[in-house]
């Protein structure tokens, strides 16, 4: 048995084998969880480096596993949002929607959830009850049950009230084949509604920004919308993704890189509310990098674009769906945008942190 006092091996081994250049980032920064380049680097170099396997290396919103004759989607997500209650939602409903949506983005019907709570000593029981009730309602509405869970309590000052982890299982129907690698030139890029609403809504509360209108989060269960999209588009639906942290720009860059294709977006086609656009203009944020909850990107074969768009628009969550661009042969791995004024530019991945800790 290893002598616990013998520490000479551990750190040195780590230093020799750590795939991230430790000298550049000796400590974890918020941006490592921001959904942009640093997150990607951390995941790909450190975690995939350590755990690497075929399912993980798909780097999709969830893993797809063959179990017996079934195809299962399996995904996990942790929620550390602050403040815990924000216009239109709270950490509880977000924790259900986040994982249910990750499952839906694999083209799967969500079946069951687990819930892990890390509670800080001193959290008001009434608040925990409100969060739990909100989770219950969200789960019922999504048609899933929370079937297992775990609770830990940490000392006062060592948590932020409550952190929640949810893990979900879903079933993938026959004929559905969703993978970022299936994006191919000619495909159309669709989004199911207004961009950047969640990120701006949370930030307006957290930072005490006062706008003339109250922005509510768009956090929602996307499975019913995805079910419609799959029903109409079938195997011509190639990629699904919910553009949460890092926004649409980071999600599309990841897909472009994984599929080895380029993307071309039209700024004029991006669905943006006036108040969200105004907030972004004032704060100097690019809405393409702001987090969404309850929005779905779909990359579909060109002949299916109209019918999938119509399917989205028939659903209450997809009324403002739009085709925002196309997959192209040129500039593989890169996303370009034609600006309102008619110029072209690259839309890179988010680098660093636009908004700290949204979800």
């Amino acid at each position: 048995m290893k002598d616990p006092s013998d520490e000479s091996k551990g750190p040195i081994d780590f230093a020799l084998s750590c795939p991230l250049p430790i000298s550049d980032y000796p400590t974890v920064q918020l941006a490592h969880g921001g959904g942009g380049k640093l997150s990607q680097l951390l995941i790909e170099k450190l975690f995939v480096g350590a755990f690497g396997n075929a399912a993980l290396e798909q780097l999709h919103d969830g893993a797809v596993l063959n179990v017996g004759s079934s195809r299962l989607a399996f995904s996990t997500d942790s929620f550390v949002v602050h403040p815990r209650f924000f216009p239109g939602g709270d950490i509880g409903s977000l924790a259900v929607h986040g994982t249910v949506n990750d499952i839906a983005m694999c083209g799967a019907r969500p079946v069951a959830l687990s819930a892990g709570f890390i509670l800080e000593e001193g959290l008001s029981m009434e608040e925990l009850w409100r969060i739990t009730t909100s989770m219950k309602e969200a789960a019922e509405e999504a048609g899933v049950e929370v079937v297992t869970g775990d609770t830990k309590v940490v000392d006062r000052g060592k948590g932020d009230g409550v952190y929640i982890n949810t893990t979900g299982l879903g079933l993938i129907a026959d004929g559905v084949e969703i993978s970022p690698r299936r994006a191919r030139p000619g495909d159309r890029v669709l989004v199911s509604g207004q961009l950047a609403v969640h990120g701006i809504a949370v930030m307006s509360v957290r930072e005490g920004l006062e706008f003339e209108t109250v922005l509510e989060t768009d956090s929602a269960n996307l499975y019913p919308l995805v079910a419609r999209v799959l029903e109409r588009g079938g195997s011509r639906v190639h990629v699904l993704r919910d553009p949460t942290r890092g926004g649409v720009a980071s999600a599309l860059n990841e897909i472009a890189t994984q599929a080895g294709v380029g993307m071309q977006l039209e700024e004029n086609s991006l669905p943006l509310r006036e108040d969200v656009r105004g907030a972004c203009e004032i704060l100097g944020f690019d809405p393409l990098y702001v987090a969404n909850e309850g929005k779905c990107l779909a990359i579909v074969a060109p002949e299916a674009a109209d019918s999938v768009l119509a399917a989205m628009r028939e659903h209450p969550l997809g009324r403002e769906a739009a085709v925002i661009g196309a997959v192209v042969d040129e500039h593989p791995g890169k996303v370009y945008l034609r600006s309102r004024v008619g110029g072209m530019r690259v839309v890179d991945m988010l680098s660093g942190e636009q908004l700290p800790r949204i979800c």
Partner: protein, 365 residues
């Protein structure tokens, strides 16, 4: 969106581009002073619509880029003190000092907070009487009035736990320093509209006369930049010099008098070192002696600071318009937004960041 879409109209942009094409008969080199203008050029892609004969050189108007590295190291040293809450605009947090940035200081336990206004820092000071709240006050004439107002309010409220680490810089002396240099390439300026909204543009008239150069006060939307570019080129082609105002919706010759008054009350002009450029006489603000109790440099003794720039970074030549970001051997390879060697790669107004983010590295190659 009102007041925005009017200035991003594709058809009007084409008309300006056509007009520029008609007026230009030979190569010209223009400098947009402000990094915000550089970013609009590239984010909207209008730089790619201009004729090849119109060269844009990117000016020093990136406040965090020109903040001396010694001061960034000093800010980090102050931020490490346990009694201090260091507050700053978000843009400053990722700017590299000699060894690290303020975000790393935060990750290591320093209390570093991003604020949207210096008045938020004053509020922190009121709410945290047992702590020392420091605001990292950088910027040009644009941000200076709000920072002056923060100091003024703190003094009115008798807040003894509020101070600023001041590194304010001024545009006209920097323009003169560029124009007076033997290696100057700039033939016309797009002056920074927001600076002029505060200060007016009368200060530029003697510069335009002395150096016989056109200076056009220009806004920040794509059509502003195209119109400002057109006006500057027209003056050059007609062999005229002087100051013209494209940004009439915000700028008058005299500027914003109340803002100037609060500036004069709190600050006085001083010599100032610019990162990458060097010391420029009378190019900055410091607190007047009656406000020196709000000066974080006097308040916190953090010992001698021996700062060191990366030997590979050519930010100085970029900020003076002598080189473009892609002409740097480290650009996009050893220097990226994740691993910056110099400030222009991480600032929202930095030229290197604009080239990197919006893809001008490819256009250039």
């Amino acid at each position: 969106m009102k007041y925005v879409d009017e200035y991003r109209d594709g058809e009007q942009a084409q008309q300006f581009v056509a007009a520029i094409g008609e007026v230009v008969t030979r190569p010209w080199s223009l400098m947009e002073i402000c990094g915000g203008q550089t970013h609009t050029f590239m984010k909207s892609g209008v730089d790619r619509l201009l004729p090849d004969s119109v060269g844009l050189v990117h000016g020093p108007g990136c406040p965090v880029c020109v903040t001396p590295i010694e001061l960034i190291d000093r800010a980090q040293a102050i931020a490490r003190r346990p009694e201090v809450i260091m507050t700053s605009f978000g843009d400053m947090l990722r700017v590299p000092g000699s060894t690290t940035d303020l975000l790393n200081v935060k990750a290591e336990g320093g209390d570093v907070r991003m604020v949207y206004s210096p008045l938020d820092a004053v509020r922190f000071a009121e709410q945290n009487r047992g702590r020392e709240v420091v605001f990292f006050a950088v910027g040009f004439e644009t941000t200076a009035p709000a920072n002056a107002m923060a100091v003024w309010q703190a003094s009115q409220k008798g807040l003894e736990n509020f101070s600023i680490l001041c590194s304010h810089v001024l545009v006209p002396p920097a323009m003169e320093a560029l124009l007076g240099a033997s290696d100057n390439l700039v033939q016309g300026f797009l002056a920074a509209g927001h600076v002029c909204a505060v200060m007016g543009y009368w200060e530029y008239e003697p510069i335009a006369e002395r150096y016989r150069i056109p200076i056009v006060v220009t806004g920040f939307e794509p059509l502003d930049l195209l119109q400002g570019t057109y006006m500057t080129l027209k003056m050059l082609e007609e062999e005229r010099w002087g100051v013209e105002n494209q940004y009439t919706r915000s700028v008058t010759r005299e500027g914003n008098r109340p803002a100037q008054e609060v500036l004069a009350r709190v600050f006085e002009t001083c010599d100032r070192k610019w990162r990458g450029i060097g010391e420029i006489p009378a190019s900055g603000y410091r607190l007047r002696s009656e406000f020196e109790s709000f000066d974080a440099e006097m308040k916190f003794d953090v010992g001698e600071i021996e700062a060191q720039e990366s030997p590979d970074c050519i930010a100085g030549e970029i900020l003076r318009g002598l080189k473009k970001p892609h002409q740097c051997s480290a650009f996009g390879e050893r220097c990226t937004p994740e691993h910056p060697l110099g400030a222009p790669m991480v600032s929202a107004e930095g030229a290197c960041a604009a080239y990197f983010l919006y893809g001008n590295r490819e256009q250039a190659s």
